[in-house]
Amino acid sequence: MLDKIIKALLLTVSLLFCLNGSVLAADVVDLNQLVENAEIMDGQTVTVSGEAIGEAMERGDHAWVNINDGTNAMGIWMPLDDIQSIKVFGDYKHLGDQLQVTGVFNQACVEHGGDVDVHSDSITVVAAGYATAESVPALKIVIGLVLVCLASVLGLIYLKVIKKSDG
């Protein structure tokens, strides 16, 4: 009986340890938290998550990808191979891929002229980006057309008034 209890306890503790470990590894830090605590976080391996925005800027065998997590935006320095996994970058017409990046945070990167950045070790696309559908409200179009008509009518009145005034 005691043997079973000890075994169960050992299993529970080891499971707790494993689960706790996996939670820590995936503990996502806000980008703004990194900026606010830059001195403490400098040189540490962190996991950040955010939408890939703009475009990838290739520089040799690496590239810059900027991500925005809603609290702030930051540059991720990653190997070129990792860029292939990013299909959609966020802009007016797109919601970019949601990336989860694990890498080393730098308060003032020595390699990049004092940049605040993350040098990635691994990248995962946690949610695929997509093209956002743009629909123009009918009311906006109606208001626009009415105002254009009004402006045109006033333009004609203006020409008449000015001609009369000059004449």
Partner: protein, 508 residues
């Protein structure tokens, strides 16, 4: 022939010229409309159609109301120029805020007005949210506002829309652009715009090419080049992405912006003199001397101070993160190569104080820059030197002191007084801004930093200017940007005109 009747002819004059300014801005909306069509951004397309139609209606109504002015242009006085300038800026702020509001990227009309005033005044503070998903046409509009604001939009509208511009100098001075490059104002305005357009072509091309070399795709590199040049040249500080200059991660891109924002912060008269072959003017001019001395001193002090903190490890990092921000602050550009909060967390009180001082000093008079202006600092400094020399000289020895600004000029008491008055006005605006900031619980250094940035039309933020900041601060910042850009006199003229009008109505 005089056809003006009654006591309120001033209103007709102001209405007439303000109408043209509004009409001028309405016509400029063609550019974002065409961009929206080209890129198939249909929501912004209708936003700009609505705004343009409203602006045309208002502009035409104002012209029709003041139509009698067409035959009474000799009645136009200095006060009208000042009032047209200051009133137009307020009307245009509301009109130009419409596309922001309709885009859904701002929380309120107040935030939209804040961003427009920030653009017009070439400040560069931003309350627009989610810049990374903003349409290209709205981004074009943001950067157009700052570019036009920098060159002088009243002058642009009146010079190009009115056939006769005999009295246009009045409007010119009203917008704090009192310079006469050639005898007639139309010629001067055209020279200013010609200089700006030549630089626009060169600057956009340079940033476009560099943009492609740093990994931007050609179309994106073009728009980024255009936007960043417009912001650099006008010392505006807007950028198309949330990260501002940090988006590009590029030393070469930052260096190009330094060249363009320093050029933009120099007096148009200096550009004209150099382009006309008078290269020595660059060294002799009181403003360039003042700018190079203060920027050198500020950069050295900031580098020495931040070297002590040990955040930046090498010369390149120091240049890109410290000198860049000092120059950006001094030229009142406001491009940031560090996060806003880094100023508060890493720069320390001394670093912040250095930035506050250079932000208040600002760039050159009759440039796109804000602040006291190097000319006034130079005049005050020279007048102190002159007074000391007078004290030490024999009483029988009457000496006339001079300074060099485009030409040799006498250091007259009136000039010194006028310069001192404007500097005092700036300092009062800055002090009130700091006071309000501390009232709302911000630390003194942070409140002073933000107030200096707003008053000097800089645009660097320490993290106070966010959509959630108190509405009172947003309103005060709008007023401070407006006062700082128009250099007080035009706004005082508008206030005096309104009070005078009320008095007239009261006594009638």
């Amino acid at each position: 022939m005089n056809t003006f009747n009654g006591r309120f002819y001033s209103i007709l004059i102001i209405s007439y010229y303000t109408g043209f300014v509004v009409l001028g801005i309405a016509l400029l909306m063609v550019l974002p409309i065409l961009t929206a069509v080209g890129l198939q951004e249909w929501n912004p397309f209708w936003d700009f159609i609505i705004t343009m139609a409203i602006s045309v209606i208002l502009g035409l109504l104002l012209i029709i109301i003041g139509k009698q002015t067409r035959h009474n242009k000799s009645f136009v006085q200095w006060k009208h120029g000042f009032v047209v300038a200051s009133l137009s800026w307020i009307i245009l702020m509301f009109l130009c805020a419409i596309p922001y509001l309709l885009s859904g990227h701002v929380n309120s009309i107040l935030d939209a007005c804040f961003d427009v005033m920030s653009g017009f005044t070439t400040t560069g503070m931003v309350l627009t949210q989610d810049l990374d998903h903003i349409s290209l046409s709205l981004n074009l509009w943001r950067h157009m506002l700052t570019f036009i604001g920098g060159q002088g939009m009243i002058v642009l509208a009146l010079t190009f829309l009115l056939k006769e511009t005999g009295g246009a100098y009045i409007f010119y001075v009203g917008e704090a652009k009192d310079i006469d490059l050639v005898p007639n104002v139309k010629g001067t305005a055209r020279i200013i715009w010609k200089i700006s357009m030549v630089y626009l072509l060169i600057g956009t091309a340079a940033l476009w090419i560099d943009g492609m070399t740093i990994g931007l795709n050609p179309l994106s590199a073009f728009f980024n080049g255009l936007f960043i040049f417009a912001s650099s040249w006008s010392t505006g500080g807007f950028a198309p992405y949330t990260q501002n200059m940090m988006y590009y991660h590029s030393f070469s891109y930052e260096n190009l912006t330094i060249i363009f924002f320093i050029l933009g912060s120099l007096n148009f008269g200096l550009h004209y003199a150099i382009l006309s072959g008078n290269k020595k003017e660059l060294l002799k001019n009181i403003e360039t001397q003042s700018f190079f001395i203060t920027s050198f001193l500020a950069s050295v002090l900031a580098v020495m101070w931040l070297a002590r903190t040990g955040v930046y490890h090498d010369a390149i990092a120091m240049f890109r993160r410290v000198v860049y921000n000092v120059l950006s602050a001094h030229t009142t550009t406001g491009f940031g190569s560090v996060y806003a909060r880094q100023f508060a967390l890493e720069w320390g009180d001394f670093g912040i104080l250095i930035l506050v001082i250079v932000m208040l000093i600002g760039g050159s008079a009759c440039s796109t820059a804000g602040g006291f202006k190097g000319l006034r600092i130079g005049i005050i400094f020279n007048s102190i030197l002159a007074d000391v020399k007078r004290l030490l000289a024999s009483e029988r020895n009457v000496k006339v002191f001079r300074f060099h600004h485009i030409k040799d000029q006498i250091l007259a008491d009136g000039l010194v007084k006028a310069s001192a008055l404007i500097i005092i006005c700036y300092l009062i605006t800055f002090a009130i801004g700091t006071l309000i900031g501390t009232f709302y619980g911000y630390p003194l250094a942070s409140a002073a930093f933000e107030a200096a940035s707003i008053t000097g039309n800089v645009g660097l933020s320490i993290g106070i200017t966010v959509p959630g900041m108190p509405a009172v601060m947003k309103i005060y910042y709008i007023i401070a940007m407006y006062l700082g850009r128009l250099e007080f006199l035009s706004v005082f003229a508008l206030i005096g005109f309104i009070i005078g009008g009320i008095k007239k109505c009261w006594t009638k």
